[in-house]
């Protein structure tokens, strides 16, 4: 009886060993395959140079500079702005670009919504995080900024696996945007845009310390590399402007003064309202609006 029990135990143990061994082999092959892909993708990325097409001036920021500054009207300029981009991501982009390129001017979007706290949730919010991680899985300094920026770790892992572990990908530079010309004009989005930029579940958002901190870091990195920095804000619709919380406007004005003291050119046209036909929506310019704005910016820059 005891012998039978012992035999059955040994048999069961052998089966268990076989099960665990097979499972480990299965997972080992999987991890090796994934690990090799990460290595190959990392090498591909390290050997890629951001295609700036010999441009010496770059326009960076979110959808505002993306739609309001037409690089064709400016000398040797490329627009690399991407929708919803927070300053944290612009800073990472810039660091990466400067490692392999030489530029002399940075035109950066600087509008009241850029310093709103809604930017702090870009790596956490389901709506934005996936896209933000897609742009930054190799360039993001997530470990260093762990205590400063809240981010969805699970989503970051998902995006990282999808982009680096499954097969070799020829392009890992997902952080370069372009000028976006919009021909339509539709002002019906006013409420949703104001809500998105300045409110969270109907509670007014404050000033983002992280955004201000990273804006200053961008200025620092420009100074360090002898890059002239120009800050711009395109006109928004009067009805949109009226709904921007006072607290944000106040901090925005303070920052403008601070930058003016540092001799930084700030081309703020937020409250220089255009005709309705020149807006793509309540806070973005359409193609015609961008032509006017780019020309005004060029003139003001020359006069500066």
């Amino acid at each position: 009886m005891v012998g039978n029990h012992k035999n059955s135990f040994i048999f069961s143990f052998k089966k268990m060993k076989k099960f665990i061994l097979n499972l480990l082999i299965f997972l080992f092959i999987l991890f090796i395959y994934m690990g090799l892909n990460v290595l190959v993708n990392f090498i591909i990325w390290k050997n890629q140079k951001p295609p700036l097409k010999e441009a010496t001036t770059i326009i960076a920021g979110d959808s505002h500079p993306m739609t309001s500054l037409n690089p064709k009207l400016l000398y040797n300029t490329i627009n690399i702005s991407q929708g919803a981009e927070p300053y944290v991501l612009t800073y990472w982009k810039l660091k990466e670009i400067l490692m392999l390129n030489k530029i002399d001017t940075l035109i950066l979007g600087f509008a009241p919504h850029n310093i709103s706290e809604f930017n702090d949730k870009k790596f956490l919010n389901k709506f934005y995080s996936n896209e933000m991680f897609k742009r930054s899985y190799f360039i993001g300094e997530f470990i260093e900024t762990n205590n400063l920026i809240e981010f969805d770790k699970k989503e970051l892992i998902n995006v990282f696996i999808r982009n680096t572990c499954l097969f070799p990908k020829l392009n890992h530079i997902n952080y370069l945007g372009n000028y976006d010309s919009i021909n339509e004009s539709n002002l019906s989005n006013l409420h949703s845009d104001v809500k998105r930029h300045y409110y969270d579940k109907n509670i007014k958002l404050g000033v983002s310390k992280i955004s201000v901190k990273y804006l200053n870091r961008i200025i620092q990195i420009c100074n360090k590399n002898n890059i002239e920095i120009l800050l711009i804000s395109n006109p928004v619709h009067l009805n949109y402007y009226k709904k921007i919380p006072k607290m944000i406007i106040k901090e925005y004005d303070n920052l403008k003064k601070e930058f003016a003291n540092k001799k930084i050119f700030v081309f703020d046209r937020t409250d220089f309202f255009y005709d309705d036909s020149l807006y793509a929506n309540s806070d973005h310019l359409n193609y015609n609006g961008s032509i006017i704005f780019t020309k005004q910016f060029k003139k003001a820059k020359n006069d500066f």
Binding site: K15, N130, K154
Partner: protein, 481 residues
Amino acid sequence: MLFNSIDFAIFLPIVFILYWFVTKKSLQLQNILLIIASYIFYGWWDWCFLSLIAFSSFVDYLIGIQLSKTEATEKRKLLLLTSILVNIGFLGFFKYFNFFAENFASAFTLLGGNFEASRLDIILPVGISFYTFQTLSYSIDVYNKKLEPTSDIISFFAFVSFFPQLVAGPIERATNLLPQFYIKRKFQYHKAVDGMRQILWGLFKKIVIADNCAELANEIFNNYSDHSSASLALGAIFFTFQIYGDFSGYSDIAIGTARLFGFNLMQNFSFPYFSRDIAEFWRRWHISLSTWFRDYLYIPLGGSKGRIWMKVKNTFIIFIVSGFWHGANWKFVVWGALNALYFLPLLLTNKNRKNLNTVAVGKWLPSFRELLSMSITFMLTVFAWIFFRAENLNHAFEYLLNLFSNPETFFILKSYSPHKLIILILCVFILIEWVGRNDKYALEKLGFRRNKKFRYLLYYMLMFSIFWFGGKSQEFIYFQF
């Protein structure tokens, strides 16, 4: 703890190793380990509600003991009533209190009175509808003398809280699961491999099918007024696959996990969308709940015996109660009633047990007649799911109005093109399910029919598609019930 989380991926191997290596020599120790693991698994959401499970388990354990000591009918009835009151009482309080208070206030106001409903800020404990029904089945079976009451408190607590099926089923019967805690489990290689395979298939259903469909269904249902009829029809179909992938995927993971520990749980889904009529659909959808209601409600009410009005009444009761079980909202009641309406013609014409076997047995393709019956049943189901998915009845009716406002778009292929990838994935999924429709889950026979290389290749492909096509993680739908 979610099955599709990193937490669970760490938790499961730890419990598995402790179970088979550390506590293997003692059945008691293994059961204690399962209780601890189950309480940790549940406590990952909220430790506070563990007391609820413990209390419910303790009450039913005591009632079982008391039932074994008495033959007096009155006393036995009183004991059963206590168990029902405790379990349904918890469920009623946490799940239905606000619903009844609000509806009572509305009815009172309609009659001319002035009554302000006081709403309680109650959090619904995860899985309460599942484990209360499981413990209740024990008391009822002991009362009906179908089951010997247990004196082994550890086995009983492990049975109630068994983590693979604790929060979303299958709702196990004590007659099936409880005795498995009394006997020593032996590690069986094929059972464990089969369990792993079922877990993988469940994860595929949840992460690839359900999560992807959920993103699209949510977008369409939340902004229904911006979509064409074709798009709204797709929204309803996406939800149809979301709920199937989500819930049957959960069941597959639960059953597979239980198999790793040497347990056999009941089958909860049997390819319901290949059903040829609604009666067959309900024999294949959420089997553990349907059979629970059949055995503990429908049959005690008289079942399908008696006159026509009796059949009609019982059918409506069982479907409406089943709908209401899903949540305190009139939309679930309408969903249940709609299914009763679908079912009644079959019952009254004695055709409800016409399709007992699997469709097209031994054939590759169904006949035209079978295809037509499956399509009609599927469409009826999709229509009913609109009520289930909508936020409330108003939302459901508005969705339906928009759905039929420009039906000509149903035939414009371009309307479907933005979703071609997910449609393609769904087609592949349906094909795999069709091939495996005779088994307990689609990949069950893979181990017997194919060689090792082919199997491994398929497993890697499944894992690859989980990583590549996996949608944004969504919570399991049935957690809210």
